[in-house]
């Protein structure tokens, strides 16, 4: 028995919205999806007229949909933004080189300029080389930290005013769960913000226009709009801790679809009790990037890689930062602890 679209009532429904359970026809779904993102952008005041905005593009479904929708809304509502694509090459053979081809095609399809920055040129290390040294358990830490800085460096080279990324509702909800599981209060407080503060040097503000868009809907949108995107999982990701949070979230969603937004709501309404010790934001003494310690995580990880001590930066070794800054060598015992790697 065909169901009518609950919005226009005229056309036949072709899908059931994972977010609300309503049955919609294709056009009404496109419209609702795009309109929600527009509402998010407007109510949060994400952009200002005349800004140059770099869209973090990986070739995956989130960033492809983001680029598409940003272009559509920019024209439809006259945001007056200059959009461009910014891509990061981590040096993962068989994964990243394929997805970069997709980004290059996106550049053609959306007629947006493209800039690619690579780990190789920025740090002298590809992810393949890093995994060889670090193993498969903590490699995501390296990639995540390096990518964040890479995006900022690329954005600075292009002189953009703002970065936007394709983080979706599922990502934000997973992050909230992960931070509770890990006891990371500082991150818990920040992770539900839709945009980062724009204070300080070298910190280009970034935002997440897709923050309230469900991953399932992003996939449906990309599918029905026949968008070109790269759909393979990173080959190094199966062992990441985030996987646990993700499985739990997916199971929650199957019981109650609104769970994803509900978790985000909880994250937004949490506040920290008085008297809880919090880290203070400063700058890295070596590279000037924002950091709550003497050395930023990126510098510590890189130092570890360059010295053949892969565990430096994984776990708490703050006391050693001073030694590293002063270019001193570490004792044999310290070195031994930092070398041990589980594959």
């Amino acid at each position: 028995m065909p169901v009518q679209c609950s919005n226009c009532v005229q056309r036949r429904a072709v899908l059931k919205r994972p977010k609300t359970g309503h049955s919609l026809c294709k056009d009404c779904f496109f419209w609702a999806f795009e309109e929600e993102i527009h509402q998010t952008i407007v109510s949060a005041g994400l952009f200002n007229r005349g800004e140059t905005v770099a869209i973090g593009a990986s070739g995956g479904k989130d960033s492809t949909v983001l680029a598409h929708v940003m272009k559509v809304l920019n024209e439809r509502y006259g945001y007056g933004l200059d959009l461009l694509l910014l891509s990061v090459d981590e040096g993962i053979t068989g994964y990243r080189d394929d997805s970069l081809e997709t980004v290059k095609r996106n550049q053609q399809q959306y007629e947006l300029p493209l800039k690619i920055v690579s780990y190789e040129e920025l740090y002298g290390w590809t992810m393949d080389a890093i995994v060889k040294q670090v193993g498969l358990k903590n490699n995501c830490t390296f990639c995540g930290v390096f990518r964040r800085q890479a995006l900022d460096r690329g954005a600075m080279m292009l002189k953009v005013d703002r970065i936007c990324t394709g983080h979706n509702a599922d990502d934000v909800a997973e992050t909230v769960l992960m931070n509770v599981l890990r006891g990371d209060i500082a991150r818990l407080r920040r992770c539900t913000s839709i945009s980062t503060a724009s204070d300080g040097e070298g910190a280009i503000p970034r935002c997440k226009p897709l923050k309230y868009a469900y991953e399932k809907e992003i996939v449906l949108y990309a599918y029905f709009k026949k968008l070109d995107y790269f759909s393979t999982e990173c080959i190094y990701s199966p062992n990441a801790y985030r996987g646990h949070a993700r499985t739990f979230l997916k199971d929650l969603e199957s019981i109650r679809p609104s769970s994803i937004i509900d978790v985000i709501h909880s994250g937004e309404t949490l506040s920290i009790k008085e008297g809880v010790k919090m880290p203070v934001q400063g700058t890295c003494s070596r590279c000037g990037y924002i950091s709550s310690q003497a050395l930023c995580k990126s510098c510590v990880l890189l130092e570890g890689l360059n010295r053949g001590l892969p565990k430096l930066g994984i776990g708490k070794h703050h006391r050693l930062h001073g030694k590293i800054l002063a270019q001193e060598s570490l004792t044999e015992q310290e070195e031994k602890k930092l070398k041990a790697v589980d594959f």
Binding site: N7, R182, G183, I185, H265, K273
Partner: protein, 424 residues
Amino acid sequence: MFRLNRKCMKCKEGTAVLIIRVNDAFCRSCFKEYFIHKFRAMLGKNRVIFPQEKVLLAVSGGAASCSMLSQVQEGLSREAPKKFRFVPGIIYIDDGGACGRSAEERQRSNALLKSIFTETGFTYFIVSLEQVFSLPTSVLVPGTSDPDPSNPSYKQAVDQYIKEKQTLTEENVASAVAQLSIADSAYSPERKLALERLFSSMKTLTAKEDMLQTLRSVFSKLLYSFCFYFLSFLRYVIAVLVILTAIDITHDKASIQRLTESFVTNLQSDFPSTVSTIYRTSEKLHTVMPPQSQTAEPASKCLLCHCTLDTKVDKASAFHATLVSEQLSQIKLQDSSLDAPAQSAEQCCTEGQGCGPGGCCSSNRLPSHQDLKMLLCYSCRLTIKDMVSLRKAPHSWVQSLRVLHSSNSFYDVVDDMASQQFHM
């Protein structure tokens, strides 16, 4: 249960019977001590129970609540300085009506629990969940704000209590002795005389009080230890039987609670600090902050759970996003159900306020989820989403709606609900 060929890490003598945390092996008696200590430490650290307060113990018949009950009994049987200072009562809520248990099954578990509760000597209540519908008003009261462990009033209260207990007159001692001899199972007039002679030979009140406490605890211990140790095993067996008959052992995904429980337990086995990290994290957080300044209005409370409402949030929030999504997915549907003049559905209820006459809340419409939702917090809104009909809502809600809302159209809505209620 495999064999552990290790000595207890605490006493170094007994054979270990279990491992807790990552690698700590405990023998049976050291584990029991450790467990009791943790329970007492939790009560002592939090300082929410003041001396002589009545404390209601919620017992479900499951392993955890039965352990709690036996811990309370154990704590009340101790010597005066270490004895719990509160007065316990027990409540068991029979939710068999909501779980589809038959009347016979419910009667059986209620009877089992009744016998356990009677032995404790505490006041107990066995109530069925259905009784909530006939409560005249909501009996919930908002909790006090975060109890501060460094609050001096707790310490003062304890000191005061101890001082009072030690204030004795000769009459008190005499009557206490009389009571003691009644309690003594080998009561005889000779015994009574012997006791009186014992006490009159003691010169100071303090000494008499000490002796009284010692004798009391000896008698009660004798009587009690027997019951406690013999019956605790029996109690455990009964409790397990109650659990097995009461609970539907179902799939992990049967409910969010079950899913979360299995998630945390499984994660804990790979990452042993999971449970304690989650617990410690939660201690550092709280939800919606009540307004700090004196001039701000007191925050409104949810009709159902009495927690501070968390739905008056910024436009750039998850809550607002859900409202937008709902509107966008069924704008036309909303319009077509209105008798009232066309009014943009988007503006109508998104602001979280009741709308005036002619809006979608006008009185010629049956009371709906939308009306009630405005008075509920985010999670209670989710709960009532699953309610098929509001006609069977508890009477206390109707009363609260009457009291809380001031717009005329709302009174009409409420009167509708009330009249339907009494026609059922």
